[in-house]
């Protein structure tokens, strides 16, 4: 009886012990999970790298756009300055032309005296 109990106990202990041990399938499963996790980590790392690259690129593009905008602004200002200068020059030319016409008229009136 005692023996039987011992055997049963041992069997139970064994059974419990066996239950605690992993099977091959379990191991494979764990391994595949590990691989998957690794792959995911790699992917995440790659993604992060790509994101950094994209962010860097976006920063560069933004900087380039800002530079272009600044350049465009400068060019617009330059164009405005040139237009202003042209306008001033045209005004100056008109003023000179008016003065010349006035001088010519004065000269003419003087020449009409006896």
């Amino acid at each position: 009886m005692k023996k039987s109990l011992l055997v049963i106990s041992m069997m139970l202990v064994l059974a419990v012990a066996v239950v605690g041990c992993a099977t091959k399938g379990d191991l494979e499963k764990v391994q595949s999970q590990q691989m998957l996790t690794g792959a995911k980590a790699d992917q995440a790392a790659q993604d992060a790298q790509a994101a950094r690259a994209a962010a860097d690129e976006a920063t560069l593009k933004a900087e380039a756009a800002a530079a272009r905008a600044e350049n465009a602004l400068k060019m617009a200002e330059e164009r405005e300055r040139i237009a202003d200068e042209r306008e001033k020059r045209a005004e100056e030319m008109a003023r000179i032309a008016d003065e010349k016409a006035k001088k010519a008229e004065e000269m003419f009136q003087k020449s009409m005296k006896k």
Partner: protein, 538 residues
């Protein structure tokens, strides 16, 4: 249910869009209409003739004539228009502020101020209003009064025309001008000494007819400077256009009364309306005359029992356009209406316009100016043309500049005389352009080809001022011609310049304003043709 709601929303939006389009198209219609109203020529009747000198004066009325408009043509100048319509240049410029006197735009419509308020003076004999620069000659009695009117030139500020009552003391055809000491002194200072007397002819400033006034040294006379009518340019005498002084001379007996007044503010009536005509700017107010005008208007206001629109009066004073402007109805509704201005057809040929003969290679000419601006050149040429006596001048365009060339002159002394006049009268330093020497063809000489003639023509125009490239120099003309023709065939603007004591024939290319341009062309020809050239300044 949702669909029904959507449809109703859509239909509402559609309605809005349709309404918006309708409004927009209506706006479009309105703007098109306004454009059409602005630019569509108004169909109008063009008068072939308008009276300019002789008018009837209705009893109790003071305004004569009618305002008119005319469209300018290319080449017109205001002094030419003024003379054709017997107006002074003062009248035309005051009536048309902002219009270029010498180079107005073709198609521009200008006013001919052919309506006048008679001066406030007895209507008999001759009345001259210095402010309006206009002479009025009254004929007939108060029942059938007629007035002949002409524009005049008057004295300067330094030597003004006299005012007051005088009469015609004597009349002379083809008068001799006995130069007064003061004028002789002025001319001597200018480096243009005058003889003690100037005989009749083109140089005589009195023209062909003179009416000597009882006030010593003052005359009403013609002129050899018609463009001065409407200017303060005399030494106190009264000048008329040659065609007007002839009529005045014929119509005026000795002892005719001459009343010279100076009335810049004129008030007059016609058809129940009060008109105002102003000939003085606000900077040049004549206090006495201004007070007189004010008192007259106050009297009209008092007698009519109605208020004058003084803002209108202020406007007429500020504008000072020298034309009668209606300012007041004597009685409510008494004005029978303002006489509408008429449109006059351009006569094509303007009376008295200076004629400009063609330049000739065998005549002398004078380069009066070389300017980059066409309008400046045209203005200067017009001013030179309107000198008295006339100095013919025209604009010759060459490359990017405009030459004002005076001439042709038959001999060198005429040309030199023109240079002197340009200097004294207009402060212009003229450059003599030599004429092409005419000589009979030498026996066996090469017959001049059309191309050679063209080259000679180019040489004439080149004979002004600037730089050219000298490709070769020959004693024999035929050798120069041969090279010039070859160059011409290659597309170069070749010419031959003959000069020097022992005549040399220079084959030249082009005409350049600056030495740099000539050098650039020289390098180009060397690269392209391998031809060396030197810069020639002429």
């Amino acid at each position: 249910m949702r669909r029904i709601t959507d449809l109703s929303l859509l239909s509402g939006m559609l309605r809005l869009i349709v309404l918006y389009i309708v409004i927009l198209s209506l706006n479009g219609c309105a703007s098109t209409k306004s454009v059409h109203e602005k630019y569509q020529p108004i169909p109008r009747h063009l008068e072939e003739y308008i009276e300019r000198n002789e008018f009837s004066v209705a009893k109790g009325e003071d305004v004569i004539g009618q305002l008119a408009f005319i469209g300018l043509e290319r080449g017109d100048s205001l002094p030419d228009i003024a003379r054709h319509f017997s107006l002074g240049i003062n009248g035309v410029t005051a009536a048309n502020p902002g219009v270029d006197i010498w180079v107005p735009e073709a198609g521009e419509r200008i006013m001919l101020p052919l309506s006048f308020i008679l001066p406030d003076a007895p209507r008999s004999g001759i009345v001259i209003n210095l402010a309006a620069m206009r002479l009025f000659q009254f004929k007939g009695d108060s029942e059938s009064l007629k007035v002949l009117t002409y524009p005049v030139g008057v004295g300067t500020e330094e030597r003004p025309s006299p005012t007051g009552q005088m009469n015609v003391w004597r009349k002379v055809v083809r008068p001799t001008w006995h130069v007064p000491a003061s004028i002789a002194e002025d001319h001597r200072k200018k480096g243009d000494p005058l003889p003690a007397e100037v005989l009749p002819g083109p140089l005589n400033p009195l023209g062909e007819y003179a009416l000597y006034l009882s006030k010593p040294s003052y005359l009403v006379h013609g002129t050899n400077k018609p463009a001065s009518i409407g200017l303060r340019a005399t030494n106190g005498c009264i000048r008329l256009y040659p065609e007007d002084v002839k009529k005045l001379y014929e119509n005026t007996p000795v002892k005719t009364a001459v009343n010279i007044v100076d009335q810049p503010y004129l008030i007059g009536q016609r058809n129940g309306l009060v008109y105002m005509e102003v000939h003085a700017s606000l900077e040049d107010v004549d206090d006495d005359e201004f007070d007189k005008m004010y008192r007259k208007l106050k009297k009209i206001e008092k007698e009519s029992g109605r208020m004058i629109d003084w803002n209108k009066v202020k406007k007429v004073l500020a504008e000072a356009r020298g034309i009668p402007v209606p300012i007041f109805e004597i009685r409510q509704g008494s004005g029978k209406g303002v006489a509408e201005p008429v449109e006059v057809r351009h006569p094509g040929e303007l009376y008295g316009r200076p004629e400009i003969p063609e330049l000739r290679a065998d005549a002398w000419s004078v380069l009066a100016a070389d300017v980059p601006d066409r309008i400046e050149a045209v203005r200067l040429a017009a001013i030179i043309n309107h000198q008295g006596p006339q100095i013919p001048a025209r604009v010759v365009s060459k490359n990017a500049s405009y030459h004002v060339v005076a001439g042709p002159f038959n001999d060198i002394s005429e040309a030199k005389d023109a240079i002197k006049r340009l200097k004294i009268d207009l402060e212009i330093d003229g450059i003599l352009i030599e004429r092409e020497a005419a000589k009979p063809p030498a026996p066996g000489a090469v017959k001049e080809s059309p191309l050679a003639a063209e080259i000679a023509k180019t040489a004439e125009s080149i004979n002004l001022r600037g730089y050219a490239l000298q490709i070769g120099v020959y004693a024999e003309e035929k050798n120069a011609l041969s090279l010039a023709e070859k160059l011409k065939q290659k597309g170069y603007e070749a010419s031959i310049l003959k000069n020097g004591k022992k005549p040399l024939h220079r084959v030249l290319i082009g005409r350049f304003d600056t030495k740099k341009k000539a050098l650039d062309e020289s390098r180009l020809i060397l690269q392209k043709e391998g031809i060396k050239s030197i810069i020639y300044r002429y």
